[in-house]
Symmetry: C3
Subunit: 158 residues, 3 copies
């Protein structure tokens, strides 16, 4: 089977799952595959800029914005988070062992031309505006994701 | 690669993940793909009828039945549930923005001939009877799911 | 589409998700497919030996080791765990109904030549040593996982 692409739906906004996603995505891209990552629901938090961006929002949108973590440095882990302790431990060990951080993996993904798409419908639901997300990404819906899965044998939901 | 089918394992019984599943499933079906959704473990709760159905059950089965949510309206979200607040906020925003509810997405899936299979083994473990689940679905085991993945390039576990 | 292999990333260390993984893996292997399971992050806990193994570890590694469950008997469930009650109920019902336990499924997987790979990078992060994991498995990185997905149409992230 001739096949040269991978797609990853990044639904979860957990640090550990985001790390796994980007390790798989950059690995696949380094092997010459075309990789598309589709960020939806909580996964959008991975793409948020760290700094606060002033935008017009409804009350519920402002609440969502405050309740959700802003960018890779603020994400919790999916297990044993213990109010951030688990994530802190994981980041500390990774630094000691010179393992790339999520931010670094995201940079590598860009350099390797991994296509990053933010789900427009989820942005609408969670009240996230384009100017709040990092640069160099695309905005699209599920049809664009599904088109990317055509002819791709390696499709994950994370 | 000629390929015209998708399979989704719906393991989780979360509102947000169920929404994502049905958005992908109906999108793929609308594009002409054959779609099979296999509901297993907590995913079965998505298929439960809202109204209580009287059945003969063991004590543990009755406990599971009471502890687990009954149908799409009762599901919580996988993150920031805060005793139902997160789910309520999400449903409220989606209503304001005229985004289809999970119930509506499930109707659309039926209209588009998405095949919905309830995992027989999980029903046995959680003590869920056929009469407690919505109509128009099939009951089968993992072999049926695996057969559906044959010749399908787009297989997700949600 | 000629295709005879499956890959499963086992990221989560939950009892219920591990059961689902091994049910799919053994089912696929019984149907003649080549199956590769890649255990990463919390999924490594599924592969830990039940008995304590004395090793040299840093403080954080010892902490991770103590905080995480040791082997299939100690895993919690992903929903309704209630301090172990949910897992206990699930195991009790499965015993009553003569459904294979996770340990038995893992034995079957070995007999069916399912390839089990422990993610070397995750072992490094969580401070897990080879002698702490069950026998008969391999140790490798994401490149080995990605190579296994080549030519495989059925790839899940669990």
């Amino acid at each position: 089977m001739e096949n040269n692409s991978s797609t990853l739906v990044m639904f979860s906004g957990d640090l550990d799952k985001a790390m796994a996603s980007f390790i798989i995505a950059t690995g696949a891209a380094a092997m010459g595959k075309e990789v598309t990552m589709f960020f939806t629901f909580w996964g959008l938090n991975v793409l948020r800029k760290e700094q606060y961006v002033k935008t017009e929002k409804s009350l519920i949108e402002r609440l969502f914005g405050k309740m959700m973590p802003r960018g890779p440095e603020k994400l919790g882990v999916s297990k044993m988070n213990y109010g951030g302790l688990g994530g802190w431990m994981m980041k500390k060990v990774m630094k000691q062992k010179n393992i790339a951080t999520l931010k670094e993996l995201m940079e590598t993904a860009k350099e390797l031309d991994v296509k990053i798409i933010a789900c427009a419908m989820s942005m609408d639901v969670l009240g996230i505006r384009e100017e709040e997300l990092i640069d160099g990404i695309e905005y699209a819906g599920v049809a664009t994701y599904l088109a990317a899965t055509d002819g791709s044998n390696h499709n994950l939901f994370i």
